[in-house]
């Protein structure tokens, strides 16, 4: 079952902050975040596991609320390079049922 992402799109000015959410109606084992620039392949940002373990880039901040089955990606002091589509992927059980969400398109303007 595909996770829900919100908002669908957001436009920011350089230096502004944004939060992208990913939620599921089913219990999750992990949430993964990727960024894809237009015409390019997705690039890994972060994995958040049930129980609190995280793995990812130092400059990326995210949270995983296990009670709500919701993850949030925090983009602070946005830069032009943050523009792209952000996808969350959810894993329901270890090694199984992985599915990407529909994406959130982020545009950062000068």
């Amino acid at each position: 079952q595909q996770p829900v992402q919100s908002p669908q799109a957001v436009i920011l000015r350089e230096g502004e902050d944004a939060v992208i959410n990913c939620s599921s109606s089913k219990a999750l084992y992990s949430v993964h975040w990727y960024r894809q620039k237009h015409g390019e392949a997705p690039v890994f940002l972060m994995i958040l596991l049930k129980g609190g373990e995280q793995k990812g880039h130092e400059k990326i901040s995210a949270s995983f609320n296990e009670k709500k089955q919701q993850s949030s990606l925090y983009l602070t002091a946005s830069q032009l390079s943050y523009s792209g589509t952000y996808f969350c992927g959810t894993e329901r059980d270890y090694g199984q049922n992985f599915v990407f969400g529909p994406g959130t398109r982020l545009s950062v303007l000068p």
Binding site: Y34, A41, F44, K55, F87, F98, F100
Partner: protein, 114 residues
Amino acid sequence: EAGVAQSPRYKIIEKRQSVAFWCNPISGHATLYWYQQILGQGPKLLIQFQNNGVVDDSQLPKDRFSAERLKGVDSTLKIQPAKLEDSAVYLCASSPREGWDEQYFGPGTRLTVT
């Protein structure tokens, strides 16, 4: 370290023709994935290999799609016969460990079916 390689980068075929895509994952990576990404949507997993074996192919349209991973390294994805709705970017990714881990994506193959 070389990244995930895919070829061809672009392919245009007519419906009912066949096509094959090739992927060479990062050396030593145990897990290989094929995704289909239709314009404006998230990648959809088609098949996941762990070494030589198939872990998940539940979303692979097996009447027309097939995939294999040769000796646990390279992989090919084939479509025969192609339909108009197969027009998409086909992404290959690999990850170093078992289970769902950080995935490294290749540049993709853009398929247009006319």
